[in-house]
Symmetry: C3
Subunit: 137 residues, 3 copies
């Protein structure tokens, strides 16, 4: 019985410690088509990874933010592709946004992933303890 209690408590401690760990994890909420915001997010990822190579960064693109990850529309197409290729950040686009804009995966910047629901992806990351930053200015 004591062993059982101890196990429970140790698991609880691990859970709490996990939630408070000092890792640099951020989910960026990108729903803007503004090119200043497109530049800002790619620059910030480069700066963060330069200082904290172990940081986990994810950009969730939905709504008006779509252009960032569409070939021929993104002002930061080369940067986004390079950041993904270098494992500096993942870029995930909302399937509902894609569908509403009649776009398919082959029109995206290579390496961009698709999630069923961008908002759910964001709040799931928040729930897992990731920081949240709305991209905007």
């Amino acid at each position: 019985m004591k062993q059982y209690l101890l196990s429970i408590c140790l698991l609880l401690m691990a859970a709490i410690a996990g939630a408070q760990e000092k890792n640099y994890k951020v989910v960026f909420d990108m729903s803007s088509k503004d090119t200043i915001n497109q530049q800002a997010i790619t620059r910030e990822i480069g700066l963060i990874k330069g200082a904290s190579p172990e940081a986990k960064l994810e950009v969730v693109v939905y709504g008006q933010g779509l252009d960032l990850v569409v070939q021929g529309r993104s002002s930061q197409q080369a940067s986004v592709q390079q950041l993904i290729a270098d494992n500096k950040a993942s870029f995930k686009v909302c399937a509902m946004t894609l569908k509403r804009n009649n776009l398919t995966k082959d029109q995206l910047v290579p390496g961009v992933e698709i999630v069923p629901d961008g908002i759910y992806e964001i709040i799931s990351k928040q729930r897992e303890g990731w920081g949240y930053i709305k991209v905007g200015h």
Copy 2:
């Protein structure tokens, strides 16, 4: 004593499990008068509830966001009223914002609720484990 410890630990486990449950709960921060944002938030609520009928969604309106819930000013007046009537989302407006704009409850879209402080409403929901999305583009 063991019973007491076990009870404590089970309560703790329940609390932690509660914080991590997979429910879809989002508080939307609406401080924009932009009609693109007004359309986006009502569309997103419809999409989320279509896919996840049990989702809990709340829109907190303050600052420049006020027009969304004011009769005769909202570009989405019918949508907001219908979303509330169908229990798809609650809309809560900041009393301080109302006062500063010399508006009263009878000028709001029917069903819109008033909270004393919009920002406190938002951070209270965050503290309760709701996801947070700033509406913007």
Copy 3:
């Protein structure tokens, strides 16, 4: 052994209670140069502290938000200086943003603090249980 378990559980309870305490703590994410946003954030701080004098408020300035805390560029220079002097809020600016704009501490509104990385400052506060509000409209 029982004492040890009890201590662990009490520590856990305190940690959880701490995360849920009702204190009013907000980190504001300010990356906008828009003067409406500059006015909004200073007004909101005044309103919050008027109603909740014990609230802890921090404004993190980075990216396009820089002007708010630069002498001669801020539309709210006197307000920011007064809010800091009265201990109503702290204003922290990102060192990387300062550097990119070739600005030094003596060009900031008196009392503004410098943090190495604005985004990390924000997510650290989130991790400590502070509410998060993106300033925007």
